[in-house]
């Protein structure tokens, strides 16, 4: 089944095989965006809720991502407590706590979530995290649950096929334009908390992709889940391409991607202008059209501190906002005929290219219409 004519699209829409989503995402909450760099808006505030999966898993482990994925982090037994609006991970248990995680445990108020990092970096003993609800919880095991909170597009529709019909985006905030938004389907991720280790580090786990199984069209990008330190190493991924050829490497010519010092959460660390800067994706070896799996990451020097996430994603479409206060719209049926497909389980998130220095919390609003048949 598929939408194969204008009449079929009309029929699908009027038969309620259609979904409209209104979305809003805000730029980084603590650090202004720099012109020329790319950012992952998924961890920003807004609707839908912020993505809290980035960096939530064990170091170097593969994690598939879908719209219903959940990952968890825990304190050690009886080693978590809350006083006021501060959660303390006295002795850490498993995985890593992240901003946006919902906290549960005996006596923990419903709806409690981490709003920002205190001294906690995800897994350090004694680390503190700021939460949204003031309360008092005595020592116990506290669990954090992360969800990707991607754009909702009507749920699974198989055996029907879902396509994007149109999209819009807007910002009226000063210096919010020009900018380009890119919708991506985040398919998998690897937490890299060992950022002071130099040389190749191997990823672990069986890499079965939930969508785009061959890796065709999939690309990788890297963002911090905890603000990075002062290092500026080059970065090289070792991967298997979409044809199943292993041993592929990020090309070193003209230059390997170079990390930007003290990159904030959500910034694509090697994006920007000048030598060694790319974006949003890590360049592929000549002739490759996608990534089926990633075997390793190699940092040429320590990044001093922080934590990274390597994300495998499928770009769906781009949408430029040319002017502050001017709504941008794309009709992907008539104007730019493409009707990109959205697979069941898609974890849809926005990447953004900042065309100008953009203030913290700059708000973007838009809508996304899909239909299936």
């Amino acid at each position: 089944m598929a939408l194969q004519s204008m009449d079929q699209i009309i029929s699908a829409i009027t038969a309620s095989q259609f979904n409209r989503t209104d979305w809003n995402k805000n730029a980084l909450p603590t650090t202004a965006q720099v012109a020329g760099q790319w950012y992952d808006l998924s961890t920003g505030a807004g609707n839908p809720f912020q993505n809290s999966t980035h960096g939530s898993t064990a170091n170097l482990a593969f994690q598939a991502l879908s719209d219903t994925t959940t990952t968890t982090a825990t304190t050690a037994a009886t080693s978590g407590s809350i006083s006021g609006t501060v959660f303390t991970d006295t002795t850490h248990g498993t995985n890593r706590f992240t901003v946006g995680m919902i906290l549960t445990g005996t006596g923990v108020s419903a709806g409690t979530y981490i709003t920002s990092l205190g001294t906690g970096t995800g897994a350090n003993n004694g680390g503190t995290y700021n939460i949204n609800i003031s309360q008092s919880v005595t020592s116990q095991t506290i669990t954090g649950t992360a969800r990707p909170s991607g754009l909702y597009t009507g749920g699974d529709v198989s055996p029907s096929i879902k396509n994007v019909l149109n999209v819009s985006a807007y910002s009226g905030a000063t210096t919010s334009a020009p900018t380009t938004l890119m919708l991506v389907d985040q398919v998998a991720m690897f937490t890299v908390s060992s950022v002071t280790t130099t040389g190749a580090q191997s990823f672990t786990g069986t890499q079965t992709l939930p969508r785009y199984a061959t890796g065709a069209g999939l690309q990788a990008y890297i963002v911090p889940s905890v603000v990075m330190g002062a290092g500026t190493p080059t970065i090289q991924l070792g991967y298997t391409n979409a044809a199943g050829v292993s041993g592929r490497l990020t090309p070193s010519s003209p230059s390997l991607p170079v990390a930007t010092t003290t990159s904030p959460v959500g910034s694509i660390i090697y994006s920007g202008t000048g030598a060694g800067k790319y974006g949003p994706f890590v360049p592929l070896q000549a002739g490759d059209t996608g990534i089926q799996s990633i075997q390793s990451i190699n940092l040429s020097a320590t990044m001093t501190s922080g934590s990274l996430v390597v994300i495998l994603a499928k770009p769906i479409f781009t949408l430029p906002i040319t002017t502050v206060g001017v709504a941008s719209e794309r009709d992907l049926v008539n104007q730019l005929p493409s009707m990109p497909r959205i697979f069941d389980g898609a974890n849809l998130q926005w990447l953004q290219f900042a065309g100008s220095n953009t203030p913290i919390n700059t708000a973007y609003y838009g809508s996304l219409d899909v239909a299936w048949g």
């Binding site: 829409i13 809003n24 001017v326 919390n361 609003y365």
Partner: protein
């Protein structure tokens, strides 16, 4: 029956299954730039609706009882659905004009006179319930300023609600902006909050929630003097004014390839964002055409 093709659309037109209406609004409000503003409270034709009824008691909204932008009478009892055929908006004044999106929405339900000056939990009466989009799927909630609030110190609040699956949830913390005027959305105006920013038109729901069925209570963490109405809405279509001095047109099936359904008895009104300051005394006129089949 339903419209399944271009031919069905043409047939519906030839059979007279169409409606043409016009409207005029005068946005008599001072706002800051980049504010979301609910024109429901603005004078003109249709008459303004002030969300003024018994405090904290939820009330449904509908065309028959409350008005709103014109559209055709109910047709679902005939086996038809109504669709938005065309929407056009033309501003009249180039001095204080809007550029930005305007969202046509079905206003479903409201809770009036939520007091922003108290930190007590305010419980809302849900004796009445949604009469359209009854599960709440795709329904959003916005906080419309009815009076007073200036947003000093960026007041914050949370609310409990029932999501689209009937589950009771406690919302994430919402942050009000500053310099809020009547008709502004309290969490979505020019005075962006520090920390967790505002300027999303709709209140933020919990992860995985895709709609809201009802609101049970509201609690302000930090107060300010003022009154809010919580309004449940279903966005239908947007239209953009891109340039000072020019109007906007939308023929959904031709230039944006969708065909939004307008439910019987829908209360239609517009939420807009202005990139310009002071949306005061900006009149606009518009037309709306619907088709059913």
């Amino acid at each position: 029956m339903a419209i399944r093709s271009y031919k069905d659309l043409v047939d519906a037109e030839e059979n007279g299954q169409t409606f043409f209406g016009s409207f005029r609004k005068n946005l008599n409000a001072a706002t800051g730039a980049n504010s979301w503003f609910d024109v429901t409270l603005s004078p003109g034709n249709p008459l303004p609706f002030y969300y003024a009824s018994t405090p904290l008691i939820g009330a449904p909204m509908g065309q028959a009882a409350n008005g709103g932008m014109p559209h055709n009478p109910p047709v679902e009892n005939l086996g038809y659905k109504t669709y938005l055929k065309k929407l056009s908006i033309t501003p009249l004044n180039t001095a204080a004009i809007v550029t930005g999106p305007m969202i046509l929405m079905d206003y479903l339900f409201y809770y009036p006179f939520i007091d922003t000056s108290t930190t007590d939990e305010q419980f809302l009466d849900n004796t009445a319930s949604l009469t359209r989009y009854t599960s709440g799927q795709g329904v959003s909630v916005m906080a419309v300023q009815m009076a007073g609030l200036l947003g000093s110190g960026n007041p914050t609040f949370q609310f409990t609600y029932t999501n689209q699956n009937g589950e009771l949830k406690t919302s994430p913390r919402q942050t009000c902006g500053t310099a809020i005027f009547v008709g502004n959305l309290a969490t979505a105006n020019s005075g962006q909050a520090s920390g967790s920013a505002s300027n999303y038109p709709f209140l933020i729901l919990c992860p995985e929630d895709t709609g809201i069925r009802s609101v049970q209570s509201v609690t302000f963490n930090s107060p300010d003097i003022g009154l809010l109405a919580f309004v449940l809405v279903k966005p239908i279509e947007q239209i953009a004014l891109r340039e000072i001095g020019s109007g906007g047109e939308r023929t959904p099936v031709i230039d944006f390839f969708d065909l939004p359904v307008i439910a019987d008895n829908a209360y239609l009104s517009i939420l807009l964002n202005s990139a310009n300051a002071n949306v005061n005394a900006m009149p606009y006129i518009g037309t709306i055409e619907t088709v059913w089949g």
